[in-house]
């Protein structure tokens, strides 16, 4: 029987053929903890009797959800994790680098064939680098810290094949929103989603990251793209590694196969309060907005900011909306700065913040009051996600966000620029 990409990765790391449904204790190549889930992971590690972390060089600590510390409690959590990193000899990137998933990718901490875990659900994003990467809870992470390994039930896979060329101002975010709307919020539960096809092959790493990032929104354990020329090119200078072949067998067995053609895809919007409630932008055009957020691990890369700036052109954002722009990492911030985007957004009336999760998870700043409406390039529009449970969050692409911020209402980006 042929193997899926996921089965290939687990088989290679285990040294013997492994198939979906089997439970294995797999070695962990890299583990990431941040300021929200990290303190509890460390506490659980201690409660398990842990003294020394199994593989400190394979652990990455960083802070991104509440940075700079927005409360004394958050500051204490940061101190607690700093002390642990120092005691254990773990790499601590602290508040310096940005959103965990972007940083893990750009530092080369995830590479083809590796098994990577993170104490954050959007860890599935590193599948864009051809890794098997998945989000875990703090107690599982405590186990990983103690043993450098974790139980996995090797998941079945959903194969998503994408063809066609994107129309103007339509891209990876519109695609993944459309797929999520089709598959549903639990349509890929417990499964790995393999993205393949000509459109994925032609997509840059930024777009692949956007797609893999949202696999969890369909219940997926991870999203993956088989490493190709684009992947290996991206890894150059980030990771010393010789390229090798890693792809699913033609006769691999899939739990589900889907195919999509993006040729006629319209800009997509997820409406409150579920990520799979997705419509063409035309259905919600004119919805008045209070806040627009361009950023997050899903869409805070330079490519995203550049497209938003292109749509914006020399206009100003509507004075009716608060526009918050957050590059997803220090590297992305620098790229935006050097390209003049930070100046452009600031001139247009936006608040450009330092790299962090920002309003995405409603824990730090940029919260919504009851009755307010936000349009966001992030990944979740759950009730209360960005503040009041009586607020509404819509999700969209950077292009749609920029066009909508110009008009002060949800707008088709093709009408603006």
């Amino acid at each position: 029987m042929g193997q899926t990409l996921t089965e290939k990765i687990f088989s290679a790391r285990c040294g013997s053929p492994v198939h979906a449904g089997e439970v294995v204790m797999a070695p962990i190549d890299r583990a990431m903890i941040h300021d929200i889930t990290g303190p509890l992971a460390i506490q659980k590690f201690r409660e398990m009797g842990g003294n020394r972390v199994a593989d400190p060089e394979d652990v990455v600590i960083l802070f991104d959800h509440q940075v700079p510390a927005d409360s004394i409690e958050a500051a204490q959590n940061h101190v607690f994790m700093r002390m642990f990193a120092e005691e254990q000899g773990i790499r601590n990137l602290d508040v310096r680098e940005g959103v965990c998933h972007q940083v893990m990718m750009e530092k080369g901490f995830a590479a083809p064939g590796e098994i990577v875990v993170g104490a954050d659900s959007h860890t599935c994003m590193y599948g864009a680098a051809g890794a098997f990467a998945t989000g875990i809870g703090s107690t599982d992470m405590g186990f990983v810290l103690k043993f450098g390994a974790l139980y996995f039930r090797v998941p079945e896979s959903t194969r998503v094949e994408v063809s066609g060329s994107f129309p103007r101002r339509v891209g990876a975010k519109d695609l993944i929103l459309a797929i999520t709307g089709d598959i549903g919020a639990d349509g890929a539960s417990y499964r790995a989603i393999e993205f393949t096809g000509a459109t994925i092959g032609g997509m840059d790493m930024a777009g692949r990251m956007t797609c893999c990032n949202m696999a969890i929104e369909m219940g997926g354990k991870t999203g993956l793209v088989a490493p190709d020329r684009v992947t290996w090119e991206y890894l150059k200078g980030r990771r010393e590694m010789k390229s090798f072949a890693l792809e699913a067998d033609r006769n691999a067995s899939y739990a589900d196969r889907r195919s999509y053609d993006v040729s006629d895809l319209a800009p997509q919007v997820a409406v409150p309060h579920n990520v799979d409630q997705v419509v063409d932008v035309g259905k919600v055009e004119g919805t008045p907005l209070d806040q627009v957020f361009i950023g997050s691990c899903t869409n805070g890369r330079f490519e995203d900011l550049a497209e938003a700036a292109e749509v914006l052109g020399n206009r100003s954002f509507s004075e009716k909306v608060r526009v918050i722009v957050i590059p997803s990492s220090r590297d992305e911030y620098l790229k935006a700065l050097r390209a003049g985007l930070v100046e452009r957004f600031t001139m247009a009336g936006a608040l450009v913040e330092a790299p962090c999760c920002g309003p995405c998870m409603g824990g730090a700043f940029g919260l919504l009051a009851p009755g307010e409406v936000s349009l966001s390039t992030s990944n979740r529009n759950f009730r209360g996600r960005q503040g009041s449970t009586d607020a509404k969050v819509y999700l969209c692409s950077p292009a749609t966000a920029a066009a909508s911020a110009v008009r002060g209402q949800i707008t088709d980006p093709r009408e603006v620029g």
């Binding site: 285990c14 040294g15 013997s16 492994v18 449904g21 089997e22 439970v23 294995v24 204790m25 797999a26 070695p27 929200i36 889930t37 303190p39 509890l40 506490q43 659980k44 409660e47 398990m48 009797g49 959800h65 509440q66 409360s71 409690e73 958050a74 104490a119 954050d120 659900s121 860890t123 989000g135 875990i136 809870g137 703090s138 107690t139 599982d140 405590g142 186990f143 043993f147 390994a149 139980y151 039930r153 919020a185 639990d186 539960s189 417990y190 969890i216 219940g219 354990k221 579920n274 998870m361 409603g362 824990g363 919260l367 979740r380 759950f382 009730r383 209360g384 996600r385 009041s388 449970t389």
Partner: protein, 184 residues
């Protein structure tokens, strides 16, 4: 005196039997515990904010042993373990749902909650008296019986230990890629 206490306890149990907290489909972890409370790690303190803004009475009225019953995809979203901890702090021990989101399911087992799958929960109503029959493994709600699926084999060991911390405390080392049970 001891005898009298037992009688009192039994009387209490009759007055306040465990009951159902019924929820729908796709209950996400942001609803279970909103993002602004994630600097808290104590289960009882987290429980004070469980379902804040979406079902405020839960934190006030949930009692030890109450059973949470939901539709499909319970616990979707964030990996925050604060979610099962908040439910545990509120006294919930058993969650019955038609399906669970993956990370929540595993977190629940890890912190010592019992997530059990029930094919159809639509007939179970909020406030019904309920209990899991330890003999048959069925959920009995308002006198009606509902079959529950067992936790998969490899997780049962963790359930039996009382959670992953208790399971791991006794372990000195693990053998990687030792194939264990083949689950469903």
């Amino acid at each position: 005196m001891a005898g009298k206490k037992t009688v009192q306890k039994r009387a209490m149990a009759t007055v306040n039997p465990p009951r159902v907290w019924k929820f729908g489909d796709h209950v996400d972890t942001d609803q279970i515990i909103p993002g602004r409370f994630l600097t808290i790690y104590d289960p009882r303190e987290l429980a004070l904010h469980a379902f804040e803004g979406t079902r405020d009475e839960f934190a006030r009225l949930a009692r030890n042993g109450d059973i949470l019953v939901a539709g499909s995809n319970f616990g979707c979203g964030s990996s925050r373990e604060h979610a099962p901890l908040a439910l545990k702090g509120a006294g919930i021990r058993v969650i019955v749902a038609e399906s669970f989101a993956r990370i929540f399911y595993r977190n629940a087992v890890n912190v010592g909650l019992l997530p059990l799958v029930c094919g159809d929960t639509s007939g179970i109503s909020d406030g019904e008296e309920a209990a899991v029959d330890p003999g048959t493994g069925e959920l009995v709600a308002a006198g009606r019986k509902y079959a529950l699926e067992e936790v998969p084999g490899f997780l049962q060991e963790i359930v039996d230990a009382g959670g992953l911390v208790e399971y791991a405390r006794g372990l000195e080392e693990v053998t990687t890629c030792r194939k264990t049970t083949r689950s469903r």
